[in-house]
Symmetry: C2
Subunit: 77 residues, 2 copies
């Protein structure tokens, strides 16, 4: 079950993903072409609508050319 | 769809989780008491059977008292 705290984590992940993507000057569609993640799913993740999985995190990391752990390098507080 | 490369990532995450848990001298059951993750699920994750989600990663990190990104700090090659 997803509680308020979980929603906040999912939202912060999405904001962090958008930040990393923008730092690489990639559109959602460009990023989706660099990994096995559909651009509509990238949009949903950035809006904080998806509890992303390990495999999707590693795919996004490939597309962004960063280590997977960087995608979790955001503040939870 | 889960391919061989994905299976390897899931397996390596599981081995890394087991290593971190053992470093903290916690049994699977002890770890499960410190976070909202059932001990049977911890076992399945460590056996490389679960494509873990962001929320579960952050719960495990709480239970292990480490930053979530440390759970993704393993080699994929």
């Amino acid at each position: 079950m997803i509680n308020e705290e979980d929603k906040e984590i999912i939202k912060r992940f999405g904001m962090h993903l958008a930040k990393l993507r923008n730092e690489k000057d990639l559109s959602q569609r460009q990023l989706s072409h660099r990994c096995r993640v559909d651009y509509s799913k990238i949009g949903a993740m950035e809006r904080g609508e998806v509890n992303v999985t390990l495999i999707t995190i590693t795919e996004l990391a490939k597309g962004l050319d960063i280590p997977p752990k960087e995608l979790l390098n955001f503040d939870l507080e």
